[in-house]
Symmetry: C2
Subunit: 676 residues, 2 copies
Amino acid sequence: MTPPRMDKEGRLWCPEALAAERAKATFDPKELSVYIYGKEYLDRKAKILALLEAEPIFNKSVNYYQGRADRLKRALERGKRSTQLAKQHDWNMDDIAMADFLVDEPGPYGLHKSMYLITLRDQTNDEQKELFEKPAIAYDHIGCYAQTELGHGSNVRGLETTATWIEASQEFEINTPTLTATKWWIGSLGRTANHAAVMCQLIVKGKNLGPHPFIVNIRDLKTHKPLKGVTVGDLGPKFGYNTMDNGFLQFDHVRIPHINMLAKYASIDRNTGQYLKPANAKLAYGTMTWVRSRIVMHARLVLARSATIADKDAKDQSGETPVINYSTTQYRLFPILAQSFALHYVGLQMGRLYETNMKQMSKGNFELLADLHATSSGLKIWSTTTAVGAIEVARRACGGHGFSMFSGLAHAYQDYLPEVTWEGDSQILSQQLGTYLLKTARYVFAQRPGHVKKSITNPTIEYLLNYQNDPHFKLKGMIQDGQYLVKLFGHRAAYAVAQVARRRDQLGETWNSLLHEIYEMGMAHCEYMLVKYFWQALTTDEQLAQGKPLRSVIEPLFNLFALTTLESKAAEFFAAGCFSQGLYEETKVEILKALAQVRPNAVPLVDAFDFPDFLLQSSLGRFDGNVYPDMIDRASREPANASIINNDYRSAELVRGEAQSELLIAAFKAQSKPSL
Amino acid sequence: MTPPRMDKEGRLWCPEALAAERAKATFDPKELSVYIYGKEYLDRKAKILALLEAEPIFNKSVNYYQGRADRLKRALERGKRSTQLAKQHDWNMDDIAMADFLVDEPGPYGLHKSMYLITLRDQTNDEQKELFEKPAIAYDHIGCYAQTELGHGSNVRGLETTATWIEASQEFEINTPTLTATKWWIGSLGRTANHAAVMCQLIVKGKNLGPHPFIVNIRDLKTHKPLKGVTVGDLGPKFGYNTMDNGFLQFDHVRIPHINMLAKYASIDRNTGQYLKPANAKLAYGTMTWVRSRIVMHARLVLARSATIADKDAKDQSGETPVINYSTTQYRLFPILAQSFALHYVGLQMGRLYETNMKQMSKGNFELLADLHATSSGLKIWSTTTAVGAIEVARRACGGHGFSMFSGLAHAYQDYLPEVTWEGDSQILSQQLGTYLLKTARYVFAQRPGHVKKSITNPTIEYLLNYQNDPHFKLKGMIQDGQYLVKLFGHRAAYAVAQVARRRDQLGETWNSLLHEIYEMGMAHCEYMLVKYFWQALTTDEQLAQGKPLRSVIEPLFNLFALTTLESKAAEFFAAGCFSQGLYEETKVEILKALAQVRPNAVPLVDAFDFPDFLLQSSLGRFDGNVYPDMIDRASREPANASIINNDYRSAELVRGEAQSELLIAAFKAQSKPSL
């Protein structure tokens, strides 16, 4: 039984269908790849990919079948091997990041490589560098960053673990006073780390001086057994991220020397017990902004990856019509690609602003920081929630096959989910952004129109000023005009801010009662930024100039992004007084046009994102389109099939003939249905 | 280290916090339980729960740690034991359904018990009952229902598997002609079934007579090995549902006797090869409606279950404020409870209509059928997508702990997901509903106002007539008035239908280009039904009369349901011309009021849904509130911890000291960040 190249109805078999799709491109996918990533990135990807594919330990075909223990073991082996490769091939940090991206699984050395090393680098004095950083870089010490506790997530001030200064012996005593003080969720702790950077309330002479980091040796460097007074373990199965050994940790009055309190910013004088205060923490906000721009740039790849799999799956012609020709399928999938590009441009802009800000801050100018930090908080929420939603939309768009692990979408969803929660919970971040927006609105609205100081303008002040000048949006224009769309989004954001300011400042409503509005206002702000910088790229990028091939593919994506966002939030535009029944209907018509323009490029577009099969691990998203043989092949490797053939389950089977009562048989035959 | 009953800030420990919440109830949860379920259901639940809890095989604490093979084996054992219990205790079909609900895992006999037995019961003649149904009821035959194929999901007409009538030997030859014809996704097939009801294209004398069901013996009844010509196995790991052995099946010219074609409705004359046609299939639509009302009633429990866990988790006072007091948390969680009740009332109504319809159909009256069938298609989409969304909203509302399997929400999500896809894909069902709505609109709008025949009215005709009489919605009212809200929802639904009718019939737009609007129109129709029957209950149920205790808890839920639905779809109300900026702002204010009214009952409400800990398997949702000790306890049972203590992973660990290149160390120390 060999697969036919074309079925009896004359419909194309998948690989040919893909070739037909690729022939439709209005642009060169390779040119778009370089436009998105730059040549250096693509060369790096090719180089690292070749190395990884040659190593048997990185063969991912086993991933979907392995249980937790086997996956953890393999992840440790992979971590070991990639660290060896890094040394052997003189990888730099970009190479390592690329390898992590391609290996595509949370590794048990993850927190050692990131938070532990960074904490040591940034918060140690010279003596501590020798004592802690050096062995950590050499992987003699393997560390983790122990902050959150069982009863305390994002609220650092609420931590209960204590480090009490013992004057007599010049030591700190680390202790877990309650069950809820158990360190919890700590990555790389469950199995891997022998050291931990532990955030503890520092207690000196009975006074609580707040949370500070301490280095604690938790496992014996030879036997890897927990040291005396330390209870440590893996915290069990999770929705995803099961190759990471998130762990728990308790201390029973464990003593550590004075030198183990990280002393770059704050310290205790060994002899007097005097507390020396930390320096200005504003620099840290800069780093946080950089981390968030990474999250945004990563989210755009998560979106593109989901669309890659679903777009290729949808071109399948085994049904009567390729599913991708249904307008609903296009409605589900193409906006994901548009969102990916919107994040791309806003992420680039964040990178540029980050550099400018770092230069300004080094000269003592903190003007940009607040806007950048606030917007990056909002974009962290927007990008991660959008990306996680898109994976699931794409998975469902694949129908039944999306539910198989072989779709490559289920594990992507499971492993990406924590991004939504960590590095700042949505609810907390949206309040940070909200505080900034209200402050800015109060500042702008307090001035007479035209009197805001020019030197401190920024995009937020800009749209608020426009609103102040034209609160009833008399500006006329067409939704086919990108410049007008940017104005619409600015007005809607400003209206949202003005409403919250009014309810808070004039009506005196509580902050708590406004949290939902504050969240929505933050998203309106972010969507303005997304539309603005997408439009800016379209009008200023040379490669997107009128008549250039790339414009034919990017311009419809801009329209699609702006218009589908407009449609999905239309109520807010209605409420802001800048929308009408007519425009609403027109928006729907224009969306259909944009979808039709994206349609011929659907497959070439995802080709341009250049995700290798090694990364995707998806029967549905294979570059060559051999979907069905791949699914059969992967199914045949399901380990349960060996047990089935050997009939290992026989003992668990039903005893024949004893199974049902006469009463039940009668009820069944009488077609009586169970109650609702 | 014992957990304190109250922490140092004087905040309550979880169990006490729960007790405080329970003391706030404005009603008796036990009374509400009886109101929701009826006493018979609750008694049944208590009876079956006691039996299951006494059986070690149903101990679920192992579930979260077991790999696929172990879970499948245990599911087989559980299936065996529950079938024995059914016989021993003379369970009826309601008892069995209850046991399945409480065991709460897809079982490998699932398709035998449902589709295989039902197919045999409904489609066999007397001889076939003896030959197939009798041994199936006795569990001598264990069957599955093999319809979908690798390349063919919901499109039954596209199936490729053939059953060719061989005149000479009076047999059928079952064959898999292509790779895409492989039977795929078939539940209970991968490991368990020895028989299959196989849907095949019936070929007689070279003519294709369309899909028909055939019984095929696929595995040896003694050895359980696949029979000659049969290739069968499990199709591998899935996002969820891994206790079910979904399988694949191929036939290589397998011959079966004439009697194996199920002959109740269609058959082949053994001697002449003549095809005898099937009878009217309309009765089957009745059954489909009943199945969907079950899906709706089940979805309401999925919603309530998610809210149960998240509400209890959110009352935790280890932070500064119980999270449940944040308005955003309330905004996320309380509407889930409101949706659960909305589905409850619409489900009850579907049940009543189903009974009425069955009576009418038995008299040859098919008037109700179309409306009932169409609405049930839409409600299937609405209920399952709402429920699956709610599980994830609830999971995220639990913060980091929601990501642990011990939350009990992750596996609930994974196992519930297929409901969204099967029993009719959303895209196909929404088109069925759309076709009906357009047909009805054409019928109504073709009449002069006031001239629609009274005898054939139904809720759809009703709201379309209202629209015809008052297309610009001159009706004035207040959103605090439920009756007015029902009218608003009716007008918005009618407007959506009228718009699609106009674009299709007057502007001549294609059906395909309107699919997104058709989907939205269907949801508008369903939301009208949901609001209508919720309001109907509030105005006619004796137990909800003014002054009755249950009204104090149900009325705010009605407001919350109607108003949050109104807010989330506000753009459509704006577009339909029945909404304004003022009403939009008012809606937000009224939602906050409703949330505040639900707040004191948040925990008592979920108590009333009466989900036993045995069902929830959730550290966060425990009835007694002992969240943290339970998480510690479950973590300590993670099997990886034994390997960790025994240091089984040592060989996989990094080689010390060889780990990093000088170049990388220098780059790291110089704080160079990887590129975006």
